[in-house]
């Protein structure tokens, strides 16, 4: 839905570094970690300061896979590898878009170092050992921290665009994103009191300082856990959910499920199952078609999927007459 380009992925331009790799890679990919570390130290680059326009980058988060793709062909051409989540439609907004010849890596230090990156994009929750090893090899790290909504997303886009010397592309992308967000907000009608909403998936919910809070703020809804002073993600009992008696319960679903009778809409099934659960069936949400199941790539997204989630929820709420301003 956002900036994408049909241009094919270009190969990185780093012949001298490739020669270095030929010498050092066998040592770096050795299963003997200690030996790998020693030899790796001998092979490391001495200067981490690089020309941003030639930065060879590895992405190790689903969010940075998406941002790099959305920054356009110039950014994509610098990518040496992406995360193993990039092709998972459950979590990635760009599943199936990255060319198959771009390696998918799952955070193993040896594999990362063997690609001789200049920049590795990781998250604050990446294993500290991996972070330490990459730092010891003088690899520049972009550590993405804070995944609580649109402001954090903008920060991450600007940071990655800046690392690659593509600030203009980052600004263009964010302008397009914010325009769509403003258009959505202009369609939302504030109700008083706001409809009360809870997200509940696999027994977990989200309070304030989460992307779900950003969604509810955008759609003028009251996130009940946040209103009760809860922050972050935490386990929520079904009992507490029933006691809160929300107007809307948001859960995640697999969009398509193979069944004996063909393909069933997994979201419809998820809604039906949750609404029929003992106790939950008595809540306002279950009785008024207020159980909303949305694909996880939207509900769990900390990137452009948040906007998709807002659009999806808004459409569903209007159709079911749950949204502010809808026909009672």
């Amino acid at each position: 839905m956002l900036t994408t380009s049909p241009e094919p992925h270009a190969q990185p331009r780093h012949a001298p570094r490739k020669r270095l790799l030929e010498v050092c890679a066998p040592a770096l990919t050795s299963p003997v970690v200690a030996l790998g570390l020693l030899l790796g130290s001998a092979c490391h680059r001495t200067s981490p300061e690089l020309d941003p326009s030639h930065t060879r980058v590895i992405s190790q988060t689903a969010l940075s896979d998406e941002i790099l793709w959305n920054l356009g062909p110039e950014a994509r051409a610098r990518v040496a590898a992406i995360s193993s989540l990039a092709d998972d439609p459950q979590y990635s907004d760009v599943a199936g878009r990255w060319p198959t010849d771009v390696p998918r890596l799952a955070g193993q230090s040896e594999a990362l170092l063997a690609r001789t990156p200049d920049l590795v994009i990781i998250a604050s929750f990446t294993a500290p050992e991996t972070q330490a090893m990459l730092r010891a090899q003088k690899v520049k790290l972009r550590v993405l921290d804070g995944f609580t909504g649109f402001a954090d997303y903008r920060t991450h886009v600007r940071a990655i665009a800046g690392d690659l010397g593509l600030q203009a592309a980052g600004d263009t992308y964010l302008r397009s994103f914010d325009t769509q967000l403003q258009q959505l907000k202009s369609r939302v009608v504030e109700a008083s009191p706001r409809p009360r909403v809870v997200t509940w998936h696999a027994g977990n919910t989200a309070g304030s300082q989460t992307t779900f809070q950003a969604l509810t703020d955008t759609l003028a809804l009251e996130n009940i856990p946040a209103a009760n002073g809860r922050t972050g993600h935490f386990a929520l009992t079904g009992e507490q959910l029933i006691a809160w008696d929300p107007d809307i319960i948001v859960t995640a679903c697999a969009p398509d499920l193979a069944t004996d009778n063909g393909v069933e809409n997994g979201c419809v099934r998820a809604e039906r199952q949750l609404a029929a659960m003992p106790g939950i069936a008595a809540t306002k949400a279950a009785r008024n078609r207020g159980v909303l199941a949305i694909p996880p790539r939207m509900l769990f997204s900390s990137g452009s999927g948040m906007l998709d989630a807002c659009e999806y929820m808004h459409t569903q709420m209007i159709e079911r007459k749950l949204a502010p301003g809808a026909t009672p």
Partner: protein, 336 residues
């Protein structure tokens, strides 16, 4: 010093405590629900009229009451299974998990989650877990074959449990990239009574009742086995048949519990031991008292944790944290 004469009083006290525990469960927890609501909801259910408070009806009838009864049943099953296991192995440190039944149940349950089968319905995970428990039992009997000594059984059980744990760990590692799947698996493995309903209670009651009746039927053989296998044989006990029945009994009790509530440790190890210290080793008294004590312990843990925190805590960890220090104190007081 054990006091067998106190057994009837102990059993009556434990049963009364269990009933009070079940009632307490219905008023403890989130939402503005008191005993008046409990009476109103029960009256409405008995008379078939609608309850005055829709949410109280949902909380008490659909959530708390089935959960409390399931907690009591699982605690009773684990206590009883522990007593049978310790009698079978003639070792007070044996616990139902040594046969690998819990591990086998966990493997199939987690495999089902890994492949998304649990999205087909609430019944899938308990069914798979129970199938895993039965498969483990069959594997155990097949492997041990005719050389069914207690030592062989114990070692084979430990090996099967190790294989089960390894497979579960592998599946968890493979699921690591899909954080919500990993979270779901870990939550199930930690054990929980969260969102368990009348359906769960209905599935579990027949096998649990069967297992407990079988345990009571084996009480005399369990007593005789305390004298040693050769003596038991000389007194007419068919030890092979006895062992098969004991294994089936343990598998029914532990497999069903694991199927509906996940893996809950400690209860089967320490409850029978504590009860034995109090009323002696005779299984006629030990089995029902262990079942009642297991129910009370699990009810107490579940009620206290639900009443004091909104955080979902695994009951197995809490039973260990509460029961182990008490157990140690008891051991020290009684001289080991």
């Amino acid at each position: 010093m054990p006091r067998p004469s106190q057994a009837p009083w102990l059993l009556a006290g434990l049963l009364l405590t269990a009933v009070v525990g079940v009632l307490a469960q219905t008023v403890v927890g989130p939402g503005d629900v008191g005993f008046g609501d409990v009476v109103d909801v029960l009256r409405a259910r008995v008379t078939g009229t609608p309850a005055n408070n829709r949410l109280a009806d949902a909380l008490i009838w659909a959530v708390r009451l089935p959960r409390a009864l399931l907690v009591a049943c699982c605690g009773a099953a684990l206590g009883c299974a522990g007593a049978v296991t310790q009698g079978l192995f003639r070792n007070p440190m044996a616990e139902p998990g040594v046969l690998g039944v819990s591990s086998g149940a966990a493997v199939l349950a987690v495999t089902g989650m890994f492949f998304g089968l649990d999205s087909l319905g609430l019944w899938v995970t308990p069914t798979l877990a129970f199938a895993g428990a039965v498969a483990t039992l069959l594997a155990l009997v097949t492997i041990v074959g005719s050389r069914r000594t207690v030592a062989t059984l114990l070692l084979a059980g430990i090996a099967i449990a190790a294989i089960g744990s390894a497979l579960t760990t592998l599946l968890l590692a493979l699921a690591g990239a899909r954080w919500d799947l990993g979270l779901k698996m870990i939550a199930w493995l930690m054990g929980s009574f969260e969102s368990r309903s009348w359906a769960h209670l209905g599935w579990s009651l027949p096998p649990l009742a069967g297992g407990m009746l079988l345990a009571l039927w084996l009480r005399r053989d369990l007593d005789v086995l305390l004298l040693g296998e050769p003596t038991a044989r000389s007194l007419g006990v068919d030890t092979t048949r006895f062992r098969n029945l004991a294994i089936i009994c343990i598998a029914l009790l532990v497999g069903t519990t694991t199927a509906v509530a996940g893996v809950i440790g400690f209860v089967g190890l320490v409850v029978p031991h504590m009860v034995r210290l109090w009323i002696g080793p005779r299984h006629r008294r030990l089995l029902p008292a262990s079942a009642a004590a297991g129910a009370c312990l699990l009810l107490a843990v579940d009620t206290v944790t639900r009443g004091t925190t909104s955080v979902v805590l695994p009951p197995g960890a809490i039973t260990s944290l509460i029961g182990a220090p008490w157990f140690l104190w008891l051991l020290r007081r009684r001289g080991g």
